[in-house]
């Protein structure tokens, strides 16, 4: 099973690739709405990409109030 750090790194990699921002500009505690400049619909597209990558189902109500990469990665890790 992969570590939480690996999950976090992959989340950051995927977010950077999907929204075409430099990977090195993203940090675990960043607010991804602000940092990526995305709205809720775009956040759902990121959620879809993450679910496919990690082969999990992540109900979006678990994402309510989550806006930083670290917590997002923790929620994903709990379902791996």
């Amino acid at each position: 099973m992969q570590t939480q750090q690996q999950t976090l790194d992959e989340v950051l990699d995927l977010a950077a690739a999907q929204f075409k921002v430099p990977r090195q500009s993203l940090s675990p505690n960043d607010d991804f709405f602000k940092k990526l400049g995305i709205d809720s619909l775009q956040a759902l597209s990121l959620l879809t990409r993450l679910e496919q990558h990690f082969k999990i189902e992540l109900p979006d109500y678990e994402m309510q109030g989550v806006s930083d990469f670290r917590t997002l990665a923790e929620r994903i890790q709990s379902r791996l």
Partner: protein
């Protein structure tokens, strides 16, 4: 009318297939303009059906297929009217959209929804009128209506109940959670999952295949296997209108329209 270019949607006939494209910013919300043009389409359908074998619905917008009812218009109109008149207006709107949806659902020709991105609320209900849903891997489906104090009002529950198990319907409806294309295929909602941007191409290929069969046989098979749940649909309108009269709905719509939350689409 073989071709139509409206403000909310367009249709054209190509290779004996009708292609209806939604293209109203921001995400094909279904309000009075879209409904007017859908009605023009269903009025033209009997003539179109003489010379075509299939129908494909899709969206030209990057955000997705359709984000559902135009909640901003619904809120604004309900604010302009007395409560009693607003409920009458909502019922009239629902009866019109149900007529459109029922016409699409009952069309004798095979129908395909080629979907991507957001397929929420009324958008999912529109897709559910089709015989097949072909989803690109970015598609995300949801019935978020309960958070507004409502149930889906465009025929979604009766059609979902017809097509899927009741337990699945309860899960999607009562949690209001969104789910991806893999889940949609797993529960039997989507017939095929395709790569990003490939849904329309695959829908065209599928329509071509369906066009090989005798149209009367296809129509008979469809009528047999896909009955329209008219009683449940009428009941849905009654329940929706009853709920719409409750204060929770106005509060829910207000919250949505005035939201500065970055996540208004998250249930």
């Amino acid at each position: 009318m073989k071709q139509f270019d409206g403000q909310a949607l367009s249709w054209t006939v190509k290779d004996q297939v009708i292609e209806l494209a939604l293209h109203r910013e921001p995400c094909n919300e279904i309000g009075s303009l879209c409904l007017d043009e859908l009605e023009q389409f269903t009025a033209a359908l009997p003539d179109l059906e003489q010379n075509v074998h299939s129908l494909i619905l899709y969206s030209n917008l990057a955000c997705g297929f359709c984000a559902g009812a135009d909640l901003r218009e619904l809120y604004q109109r309900s604010q302009e009217l007395k409560k009693k008149d607003a409920i009458v207006g909502v019922r009239k709107f629902l009866e019109r959209i149900h007529h459109v949806m029922n016409t699409l659902d009952a069309s004798p020709m095979p129908t395909i929804a080629a979907v991507h991105g957001i397929v929420f609320g009324g958008g999912l209900e529109l897709a559910l009128t089709c015989d097949l849903i072909i989803a690109d891997k970015t598609a995300r489906f949801c019935f978020p209506e309960l958070r507004l104090g409502l149930i889906p009002g465009f025929g979604g529950i009766p059609r979902l109940k017809r097509d899927l198990g009741n337990a699945v319907v309860r899960d999607l409806l009562l949690t209001g959670r969104s789910f991806n294309a893999n889940k949609a295929q797993q529960i039997g909602l989507a017939s095929q999952i395709v790569g990003e941007g490939e849904a329309l191409r695959v829908a065209r290929a599928t329509a071509l295949q369906m066009g090989k069969f005798d149209r009367n046989t296809a129509a008979a098979a469809k009528k047999f296997i896909k009955p329209i749940p008219y009683d449940d649909l009428r009941q849905e309108i009654d329940i929706f209108c009853e709920l719409f009269s409750q204060p929770a709905v106005e509060a829910g719509l207000k919250r949505f329209v005035e939201s500065t939350n970055a996540q208004p689409y998250l249930p």
